[in-house]
Structure formats: C-alpha cells, structure tokens
Symmetry: C2
Subunit: 303 residues, 2 copies
Amino acid sequence: MFGAIEAGGTKFVCAIADEAGIICREERFETTDPDTTLGRVLAFLRQARSQFGALDALGLASFGPVELRPGSPRFGCIGGTPKPGWSSTDILGALGSEFGGPIGFDTDVNAAALAEHRWGAARDVRDLVYLTVGTGIGGGVIVDGTPIHGLMHPEIGHVFPRRHPLDVEFRGVCPFHHDCIEGVAAGPAIIARSGAPLSALRHDHPQWEIEADYLGQLCAQLVLTLSPQRIVLGGGVMAQTRLFPLIRGAMTSWLGGYIDRYELRDGLDQYVVPPELADQAGVRGAVALAMDAARAAGNATAI
Amino acid sequence: MFGAIEAGGTKFVCAIADEAGIICREERFETTDPDTTLGRVLAFLRQARSQFGALDALGLASFGPVELRPGSPRFGCIGGTPKPGWSSTDILGALGSEFGGPIGFDTDVNAAALAEHRWGAARDVRDLVYLTVGTGIGGGVIVDGTPIHGLMHPEIGHVFPRRHPLDVEFRGVCPFHHDCIEGVAAGPAIIARSGAPLSALRHDHPQWEIEADYLGQLCAQLVLTLSPQRIVLGGGVMAQTRLFPLIRGAMTSWLGGYIDRYELRDGLDQYVVPPELADQAGVRGAVALAMDAARAAGNATAI
C-alpha cells in the first residue's frame, strides 16, 4: 500500500492507494497553520498504518516554492510564500520523522501533471503542461515522461502577460509582481476586477474575453518555450468550460500562424483540454510519486 | 571521422571532426538558394570522403522551423520560413541521398545548446537554455542533458515581451508578429529603431537600456517556465559584452525577488553567461549530433 499527501495552499488531501494506484481511503481538510495541518496528516498516516499495516512508500505533492534538490540543506522545505506561517516549513521532514520508508516528493502541479500523464488526459503524449487556474495559477511540466525541476521548478503562474486593452487600469493582485498572470487571471483577480466570480457574470461581460485572452496568451507562450504536445487546464476557474473554446481561439490569434502543426489547427480541441482526473489529479500524482519512489528504492536494493 | 553541417539562415558551416570531436577541416559559406547551398555541402562531403575515407556518421543542425519527428512524412523538411526558396526544402533528404550512414538531426540552436553543454559554458549543469541574438533570436533547450522537441521544438524568438516604456511607438520587424522578442530585440530591430547597430551607439543611448530590458525580461520568463540551471547568451548582438551586466540587472528586476536561489543572487554572473565556443557552437553541436547518432546506431547493432 502507498500513502499519498497532496499539500495544497487551500486544502490538503491524504490518501491510501493500492498497488494499482487505486485510492481506497481518502481524507480532505482545509490548510490552516503548519502545526495543525501537518498534525492531521500524521494522524491520518498513523491511523492508516493501524488499519492497513506498514506502507511501502509515501508520495508528497506540495505547494511551492519548495526545495526539490536532495543535496540541499533545505531539501523538503517550503520557500518564501505569502501563506501565513508556512515559509521555511520543513514539510518533507515532518513526514520523514514519522515514516522511515521511501518518499517521493515534487510540487503539487508537477504531481498533477504526472497523474494526468499516467492515468488522465495526457496518457498518449510524453511532453505536456498542466495548468491549474484557481485561487492561484500554477503549472507542472513533464518532458519525456518526467517532471522537470532544473534550477528550482517552473513557476508559470508568475510570468508577465501583455495587458489586455480593456484591462490596462487594473493593478493586479499578486503581492510579488502585481500583474503577473496569477495577478490578473486567477480567481481573486477576477473578483477584484469584476466584483464576482466568472460563474456569476453574464456571457457578454468583458471579463470573459479578458480571461480567455490572458490564458490563451499564456498557452501560446508555453507552446513557444516548452513546445508541449498537450496543455491540460484545470482548477476552479476552468470549471467554466465555455472558457475552453475562447482560450483556444485566443491562443491561435497570439501564435499568428507561426507554428504550422495539425495539433494547433484541426487538432486544437485535443490540444488544449480539461483534466480527466478533476480534483483527484493532485492526490493521484502523489500516489504516482510514491509508486516511483518504491520502484527506485527496489532498483537501488537490486543493485 | 564525423561529418557536421551547421545549416544557418545566414551562413552554412561544414566540418569534419575526429573521434574526440575535434574539428580537423572546416568550410564556411553564405546561405543563398537551396540548390546552390546544398550543392556546396555535398561537394564538401564528397571531397572529405576522398580525403578521409567513409564517414562514420553525419550531424545536421538546421535553422527552423523544421520537422524533427522521424515518423512524419515531412521529417527533415524546413517549414514555412521568410527565407526565400527554403520553405518545404527537404534538407535532411538532400544529405541522406548522398550519405548512407546514421545522421543526427536537430535545430541549429538545440545543437549549439548541446555543444555548450558538452564542451562549453554549461558543462557542469544538466538543464540549460542557449539563446542566440543576432539577425534573429533563437533558443535551444536542454533538459536533463537532452534537447527538447515536444510538439515541434522551442521557438523562443517569437514570445511576446511587454513593451518597454521608451519603445511603445516602434512597430517591430517580425513578419509574423511584428513585436515579438525577435521583432524588437534582434539586430535588424536595433537598426530599424536606432539607425545603427549597438556597436555604433553611445553608451548613454536609450537603445542599450531597451535591449537589456527586453533580453532580461526574456531570461526572467525562461526562469519561470523552463527553470534552467544556466542561460547562455550568444550571437552577434551579444558580442557587445557590456550587455551582460545590464541584462542580469533587468532579469533580477523582472523576477521581483520571487525565485529565492543563490544562482539568481550572488551567483548571477555564472547564471547568465556568454558562450565558450563562440561561433563554433553550432557546428560543434552538429558534431555532437553525429557522435550521438553513431553511438545510437552502434547500440542498435549490439541489440
């Protein structure tokens, strides 16, 4: 059995999965302060152990920024974050102190990308981006089947979009950059600009066009830099599925016909897609991380 | 012995290298129409064969857009390009008709990135971006030691920068997008805006600040999306080495302190760096492609 923790900025999801990756127990709770939140995680794991016996591996999919380099003294620690109390929290250490087995560890969005790649909307490709558009904007990137880290990990939510002509007055809500993509297109930006979430706005409200243009521009930038074979768009804002055709149209307009590919013309409906795993993507990604960690540990033993 | 062809938009470089990747013969000529240019390449290879005997493999590093998917009917063909006569040219086929051995094939900028990774300014990292800023802007991306392709290949020169406040009147010179990064920051844009290349402009001319801001913004966007461990900046415009500290400063300003990493603070001089291979990066990348193709063919035989 595998333990899986999706440590999100607004909610935590804890789960136990079997050797096929099927979740057989799950608990969700709000993210509050680190002590309370991680205490609930440890209680879940202890209770699971008493029910299922020892776990073969854990997977931890954490909100970022987070230190992913195993050699770093801050490996497993949250970086500077606006979330009160969480900066410098050793989230991996908190689990490691309780659990001695292998632990797979990555960002929540890289894990969600991995889950959509393994079991969801991007099963048939090797290179993809998973974007979540909700209380924030985050992006996970898979290249040749593996999440990328590099210097740290992608922080796609903080790229700088060109401002929409109807939106030049809006300052943006990101505490770091004001009008990065998260600052102008995540849920709180929509409410700050238009006084209501998308779901409460008429279809002819300019907010729809502004939102689609920003997200279409983001998708176009990702095509030009990362060249993914698919872009999966999830998160609370994307529950408004009429955004999909609007975003595809905006992306096409931003690219200006430069990238000559079937996938960006006739195949566009299969290029920018909703997730298949819905709100299970993050926790199932944590399951995938646990399974990979168990396999890596097995291989290490075999050598 | 290996044959190596750098097929650039302005010049071609043909070379022969030994088993250590050292170039022992080289020829450079201007890119004109496809028949003339590829005729000179074939003449070079025939002459090399008569001097050195059969070649073990060829490497071809081509300007893009180009079809890199071996399964595609257009594999090895140039895509739509403003370069007269070159759209749809089967550049790989032209070499394959003359040469029966293994051929390694990638974009010129991916190859240059590979060369800087293997023998140059990015030997000690696994994830890097190589940008060339010259008559155009191109970017090669290496993730975990391997050039990325995905849907096509990165086309970093065509991302959309936010316009500099001193540059809002300038239309940009890209025939596809007007004011993408290539349209506002490559050599022809500098001349169109300021009437002269950077080398002829006083150090207090605003063009310097505008150029550094656009390239610093591009580097910041790449940090946020690709998370490279190093960015190598080459090409004719970057021969003005006083751009480097200006670009590093602009990148820092664009990132707004969000990515908390030694490499982006005290280590910044080693993060955004000039190439070590200078104008040999492309052709040595083609050598690396040839060596990898020979190794892959050898492995295939061994299996």
